[in-house]
């Protein structure tokens, strides 16, 4: 299990600036509640070029919320009655069910409960519906991570290149077109940070 920010390093050709930048990054991550979401973070800054590179690994194990967690599913005359107990997920749940069954085949009894037609096997369909994801923290995480990266990077660095996946983020920013060397540095840091993961 990764601890929050177990690896956090800012490398730079200007060590004094790197130390100050570490503070900036800590402040931004705290402000946006991202400290616990990011496991490792490596930053590379070369003010001479100038270029700003961030590579980070997300902490795994952020649970998603499925329809089974927030709704009761019962058999009724017309099919399966799904009543969402937690109202905040009702809209997403109804939307997802619309997509799956089609709008005309669904009976919405009220805002939080709907009836879908029974297909073949009740137990199978019950499990299917239960596993529909209604809330994925990763979506929100992605948004706040992008926000954080833009806040952290120097404002003048408007040329940006980024990559975000389920577990990794990489970001290069500069005021000049991105050079091949910088992408190489980014790759090196990425392999180092992943290497580190293998050691744990």
């Amino acid at each position: 299990m990764m601890e929050p920010l177990e690896v956090f390093r800012v490398e730079s050709t200007d060590p004094e600036g790197a130390k100050k930048y570490e503070e900036v990054i800590r402040d931004v991550l705290t402000d946006l509640n991202l400290v616990r979401a990011i496991g490792r973070l490596r930053v590379y800054i070369d003010p001479k070029e100038p270029v700003f590179i961030v590579v980070g690994l997300f902490r795994p194990g952020l649970p998603t919320i499925t329809l089974g967690d927030v709704a009761d599913i019962n058999s009724v005359n017309d099919g399966l009655m799904i009543s969402v107990r937690e109202e905040e997920y009702a809209a997403t749940a109804v939307g997802k069910l619309y997509l799956r069954y089609g709008r005309d085949r669904i009976i919405a009894t009220d805002r939080t409960s709907i009836i879908v037609p029974l297909q073949t096997d009740f137990a199978k369909q019950h499990d299917e519906i239960s596993s529909i994801v209604v809330y994925d923290p990763k979506d929100e995480l992605k948004k706040s991570v992008i926000d954080a990266l833009i806040r952290i990077a120097p404002e003048g660095f408007r040329v940006r290149k980024h990559y975000i996946s389920e577990r990794l983020l990489a970001f290069i920013a500069s005021e000049d077109p991105i050079k091949q060397e910088w992408t190489d540095v980014c790759r090196r840091i990425r392999s180092e940070i992943e290497q580190h993961e293998g050691d744990v």
Binding site: E16, D31, P47, P50, P154, E155, R158
Partner: protein, 306 residues
């Protein structure tokens, strides 16, 4: 005259104001905050004990205001969240507590290293102030490069930044204050506040040098007196809704009313000696809205001092 800030209750504070006026001092700025009042004022040195006694009687507090009577620009690379609010606002607030009037200027293209530049209108606007504080970032390389922005600025510049640097490494400024840089939190640690004190001191020193420069060819009339006469003779100017409608500067005033409408009325203000404002001062349209910049002519131009 000694610049002071009086902080006290609203009740009976008029007594303090009347005392200052009777002594021949000037009220530069008065802020009423609910039941509190903060007055920035100039007191004749000889009468300090009287004012101190009055402050004691009214249970108010007197503090020195080394930057009183100056308008200072706090310049940030832009107004985006990378640079605001924390550091820029803290700097401005700190300078304000020392008695100055501060204006925050966010540049249009001040960001980056190679791409940073100043617009002509920004240069003019900064030059309208008595001093400018530039807030720069964390890297030596970038601060050095960005000294190119100082080229056309004629007022003393104080630079704040992250790294420790000598003045020689930052050409074009009168003082460099390290240890700040880009800060994304409120500056409230003890060591951070000590740096802000340094900044106030450096700015004060820069203004003192500017005053000494002005003293070589003294102004025909002192700016507080001009301010006082305008307040008295054109009473609708102090009524203007702009913050501090009459802002004192070292060699003049910023008057926050429309230029065209008020130009002639201001030039017609008459001093007790029978001299008109048009004989001792020039008016220019300001770069800030359609305000007026008043510049007092030195003795070498008018041939007299009143």
């Amino acid at each position: 005259m000694e610049p002071l800030i009086y902080q006290g209750g609203l009740y009976k504070h008029e007594q303090m104001i009347e005392l200052i006026e009777d002594l021949g001092g000037y009220i530069l700025q008065k802020n009423v905050l609910q039941l509190d009042v903060i007055v920035v004022m100039l007191v004749p040195n000889a009468d300090l004990p009287l004012v101190e006694a009055k402050a004691k009687e009214l249970l108010g507090k007197l503090t020195k205001a080394p930057l009183a009577g100056a308008e200072i620009a706090v310049v940030t690379p832009t107004l985006a969240y990378q640079h605001l609010p924390h550091l820029a606002c803290d700097l401005a607030e700190y300078l304000r507590r020392a008695g100055s009037k501060t204006n925050m200027i966010g540049l249009a293209r001040g960001v980056g290293k190679r791409v940073a530049q100043l617009k002509a209108s920004e240069i003019d606007l900064i030059n309208e102030h008595d001093a400018a504080v530039f807030t720069y970032g964390n890297f030596k390389e970038c601060i050095k490069e960005k000294t190119k922005l100082f080229r056309d600025i004629e007022v003393p510049i104080v630079v704040t930044g992250g790294p420790t640097m000598t003045l020689a490494e930052v050409p074009g400024c009168v003082a460099y204050i390290g240890g700040l840089g880009r800060v994304m939190h409120r500056t409230r640690q003890k060591d951070e506040l000590a740096i802000l004190d340094q900044l106030v001191e450096a700015t004060g020193k820069a203004l003192d040098e500017r005053r000494a420069e002005l003293d070589k060819d003294p102004l025909s009339v002192s700016p507080p007196r001009v301010m006082h006469e305008i307040e008295k003779q054109i009473p609708d100017i102090p009524e203007s809704l702009a913050p501090t409608p009459l802002t004192l500067q070292l060699n003049g005033l910023r008057i926050k009313v429309p230029y065209k409408e008020y130009k002639d009325r201001i030039l017609d203000v008459k001093f007790d000696e029978g001299i008109y404002m048009r004989e001792v001062a020039k008016l220019h349209p300001s770069r800030m809205k359609d305000y007026i910049i008043l510049r007092i002519m030195p003795r070498s131009e008018t041939g007299f001092i009143i």
